[in-house]
Amino acid sequence: MLFRFSQKKRFETLVRPHLQRLYQFAYHLSGNQADAEDLVQDVMIKLFPQTDKLEAIEQLGPWLKRVLYHQFIDSSRYRSRQPDVGLALVHSGDTDALDFLDSLCSQEDGPEAKTERARLQAVMQQVLLSLPPDQRVLLILAYVEEWSQEDISGFMDIPVGTIKSRLHRCRSDLQRRVKKKLEPFAPCDRLQVRG
């Protein structure tokens, strides 16, 4: 009984400080609160028997995120729900894709700016969730979690150079998709006024 108490306490001490951040990461991956909580729970259930191993890990936070990411990938519901979308060819340096942000850049930080920011973020979240998991996690780590490219390289087991080029493509793809989603009408739907 003493051993079991000790393991329980050790495990809780190790992982409790990371639960909130893990949940946030899981939310960005999954897009909803219930799935995010389930993901974290699944990881914790898997890791409790390995408490001894956890104590030997130097940077537990990133390690836990890696385990959670793999748990997310293994979860069949995400494989079936998300269609594979190839990376689109985009021009490098295409910052005109962000021209929809001009109004936000010029606004004071008042209620209108906050409303606009919320609207944009809702669209960004929606588009992020439509991307394949490997693209999504790359963007989340780089721009939401703000990891360095070296850390992302270690996380995804991909060379730094590859991370750079993929990040560039994914970033441009996300910007293009967000801009497209913000457009009220497709070109063919626009009314033509004839005199």
Partner: protein, 218 residues
């Protein structure tokens, strides 16, 4: 500095990859070039929006529930399992009014909790395995029939975790919640990475509190 170079280095600048003269040169260019400064503002705004994507708070008891669920799988009973590769000696015992020992939140030993038939529709199923030698880090997977669920893992029909197995008899007590009348197989799979063993037991529940079980292994 050419605009093309400033644009190419914009993301790295925002990654704080530059310092000193390199960063100064970029800032000088953006101070002098309106279109490039606009690009910098757009990308900075974009990244700020991404970095602050809202996340709803988890449920109120999130941390405590997660930790309790994760740690309860280490029930205060010794585990036994069929020795992988050896003959299996296993039995399934199903009964009402059986005591179930569950750890308290503070780790102190708990008094057995009696579950009575016909009230909360809870049954305790005991898996008893004989192990000839010690095994470590064996993966145990339980697959439940659709008419029952583990009380500690509602909504899940399959649960996996790793266990250390001690020589001799090990009893795994599973509080099951009966969801409906029915009959189905409970499957316990053991995997030590090299060999696998499967234990099957039929679990039957009726509306009048009757129940039964039959066990076999493969």
């Amino acid at each position: 500095m050419h605009c093309r170079d400033a644009t190419a280095q914009l993301e790295l600048y925002l990654d704080h990859a530059f310092s000193g003269p390199q960063a100064d040169e970029l800032r000088r260019h953006w101070g002098e070039c309106e279109p490039c400064r606009r690009d910098l503002e757009r990308v900075a705004q974009w990244r700020a929006l991404l970095a602050t994507l809202p996340v709803p708070e988890p449920s109120a008891d999130f941390s405590e529930r997660i930790l309790a669920t994760a740690t309860q799988q280490r029930a205060p009973r010794r585990w036994s399992s069929p020795m992988v590769g050896a003959a299996v000696a296993a039995s399934l015992v199903l009964g009402t009014g059986l005591g179930v020992w569950l750890p308290q939140q503070d780790g102190s030993p708990a008094a057995p909790t009696e579950y009575q038939a016909g009230t909360e529709a809870l049954r305790t199923v005991r898996l008893v395995f004989d192990a000839r030698r010690q095994l470590e880090n064996v993966e145990l997977t339980l697959e439940l029939p659709s008419h029952v669920e583990l009380a500690a893992f509602p909504g899940r029909q399959s649960v996996s975790w790793h266990v250390d197995l001690k020589p001799g008899q090990n009893v795994l007590a599973l509080p099951l919640r009966v969801l409906s009348e029915g009959e189905g197989e409970l499957i316990a799979r053991l995997n030590d990475g090299e060999k696998r063993k499967v234990f099957r037991a039929m679990i039957q529940e009726t509306l009048h509190g009757g129940h039964g079980s039959r066990a076999r292994s493969s």
